[in-house]
């Protein structure tokens, strides 16, 4: 069976504009969530978020590029640059045709929709910029990555709400394992922190107005984030032969549907997905030392997720560590699983477990070791990354330390 390894990683998110700064923030348990800075923020009742601050598009892209790149595409390209520089790969000839890009995003070019609706509805204009459609489409980021690096193999975007990135990375893994591709650029991006993007979430009444406190008894909802993370998945022999640095191995993936409720999570569905990922990875339960939780900080998710982990792991649930880094970078919706994979790689490669910050009161319904507030050193041979989306769509990845 072909094996799949990770040979590059890149990111931009509220914790940092690259991987080293993001991991440093995670090690220090720093919070990237703060006051939102956006137009009409005074008309929002939720005014916090994990916003990417100090980011200057003009320093990264020229005028023609910015005319075509929505913020979610810009984030993707910034992260992809870092990942591909790290991997040291260039794509030509047969490798180009055997390489592709699969990226997750839930909303795609939300800022572009928002700005142009404003212009036609609020300002009454009857003309919009000619690039509105190519800028807002969900696959814009994947297509620009493909064009920028000459990736000519399987390329598409995946939209499954909060599981988009995990689905994307799971599919990239399967494409390489199944022999369809040798290298896949994968991960995800989201830039939904616009007036309309936050207003829509406000409506559902599940957002916190003060902080994201996953697993804490006094948690009161999720906090949105934005940004991207991109990884280079590569067939193991291909990476070994060229002497690439291997960050971790992707060993399993499972995806399921609850077929039950459009917003409420299902313990059974989540447990079935976790067990499926373990089986696909041929991992014993007691080999898993760390889980990066979906951990949104909502009452329902965190309770259900802990029950599902207990169900899937039995007694071992009390031995393993499970943290939610959303407490630091916010919920990146379609990009969240990608940024969270950075914490998984840090656990495997550096032996550092990112904490769940904002943890204040134990909740008997979340009685697992959630690595409260302070990062921890631990040797981790295998870990999981959970994503359980609205719509009941679940996607869990399993990783091992680099071979």
């Amino acid at each position: 069976m072909r094996r799949v390894v990770i040979t590059g990683q890149g990111t931009i998110n509220a914790l940092g504009h690259d991987v080293p700064r993001t991991l440093e923030a995670m090690r220090e348990g720093r919070c990237g969530i703060g006051e939102l800075e956006l137009r009409d923020v005074e008309r929002l009742s939720v005014r916090i978020g994990g916003q990417v601050k100090g980011y200057d598009p003009d320093a990264r892209f020229n005028r023609q590029q910015i005319a075509l790149y929505d913020r979610f595409t810009q984030f993707t390209l910034v992260a992809a640059h870092e990942a591909l520089d790290g991997a040291g790969l260039t794509f030509a000839g047969e490798l180009a045709t055997r390489s592709g890009v699969v990226l997750g995003t839930a909303g795609g070019g939300v800022n572009t929709w928002d700005e142009n609706y404003r212009s036609v509805y609020e300002e009454g204009k009857n003309r919009v910029h000619p690039f509105v459609v190519p800028k807002l489409m969900n696959n814009a980021a994947a297509s620009h990555v493909s064009m920028e690096w000459n990736l000519k193999g399987p390329s598409f975007s995946v939209a499954t709400a909060c599981a988009s990135s995990n689905h994307a990375m799971g599919l990239a893994f399967q494409l390489i394992r199944g022999g369809v591709a040798d290298v896949m650029v994968t991960g995800g991006s989201e830039a939904m922190l616009s007036f309309g993007g936050v207003k829509a979430w406000e409506g559902l009444r599940v957002m916190s107005k003060d902080a994201c406190r996953p697993f804490s008894a006094n948690r009161n909802g999720m906090v949105q984030g934005e940004g991207a993370a991109v990884f280079i998945f590569e067939e193991f022999e291909h990476a070994r032969k060229r002497g690439a640095e291997i960050l971790a191995e992707v060993v399993g993936f499972a995806m399921t549907s609850d077929a039950a409720d459009i917003v409420m999570p299902s313990e059974q569905g989540a447990a079935r997905t976790i067990s499926g990922a373990l089986k696909d990875a041929r991992l014993n339960r007691d080999e898993v030392a760390y889980i990066n939780a979906h951990g949104t900080g909502t009452a329902a998710n965190d309770r259900v997720e802990c029950a599902a982990v207990s169900d899937a792991f039995g007694h071992h649930a009390n031995e393993l560590m499970m943290s939610s880094t959303k407490s630091m970078h916010g919920h990146l919706i379609g990009g969240t699983g990608a940024v969270e994979l950075l914490a998984c790689i840090m656990a495997l490669k550096d032996g550092v477990i990112a904490p769940t910050i904002g943890y204040e009161e134990p909740d008997p319904e979340c009685a697992l070791d959630v690595v409260p507030n302070v990062a921890r050193e631990a040797k981790v041979d295998a870990c999981l990354s959970n994503a359980f989306a609205f719509g009941g769509l679940n996607a869990v990845l399993a990783l091992r330390r680099a071979p």
């Binding site: 009742s45 409506g203 559902l204 009444r205 599940v206 957002m207 916190s208 948690r219 009161n220 909802g221 459009i262 917003v263 409420m264 909502t298 009452a299 329902a300």
Partner: protein, 89 residues
């Protein structure tokens, strides 16, 4: 005024529960009437729209919200309170 608030709230809840307004009793909880968490959030939205008020409600901690939703009567009273507070009625 109070009568109107009661009738309007009952109308909103009845519509959400797919019941006749006459079948919505003041003592009933939303659960008794078969309204789930999504239905609750939708009812609160409808109340905000009907009375032009802001209802402080977080679905993560309904019991901690200032807005009492334990029964139809409690909701009516809470709406009356918010109207007095926000509209000076």
């Amino acid at each position: 005024m109070s009568e109107t608030v009661r009738d309007k709230v009952i109308g909103i809840i009845a519509e959400q529960a797919v019941l006749e307004p006459g079948d919505v009793t003041m003592e009933a909880s939303l659960q008794d009437l078969g309204i789930d968490s999504l239905g609750l959030v939708e009812s609160i939205f409808a109340i905000e729209e009907a009375f032009d008020i802001q209802v402080p409600f977080n679905a993560n901690a309904p019991e901690d919200s200032e807005f009492d939703i334990s029964s139809v009567a409690a909701i009516v009273a809470a709406v009356e309170g918010l109207l007095a507070e926000q509209k000076g009625d």
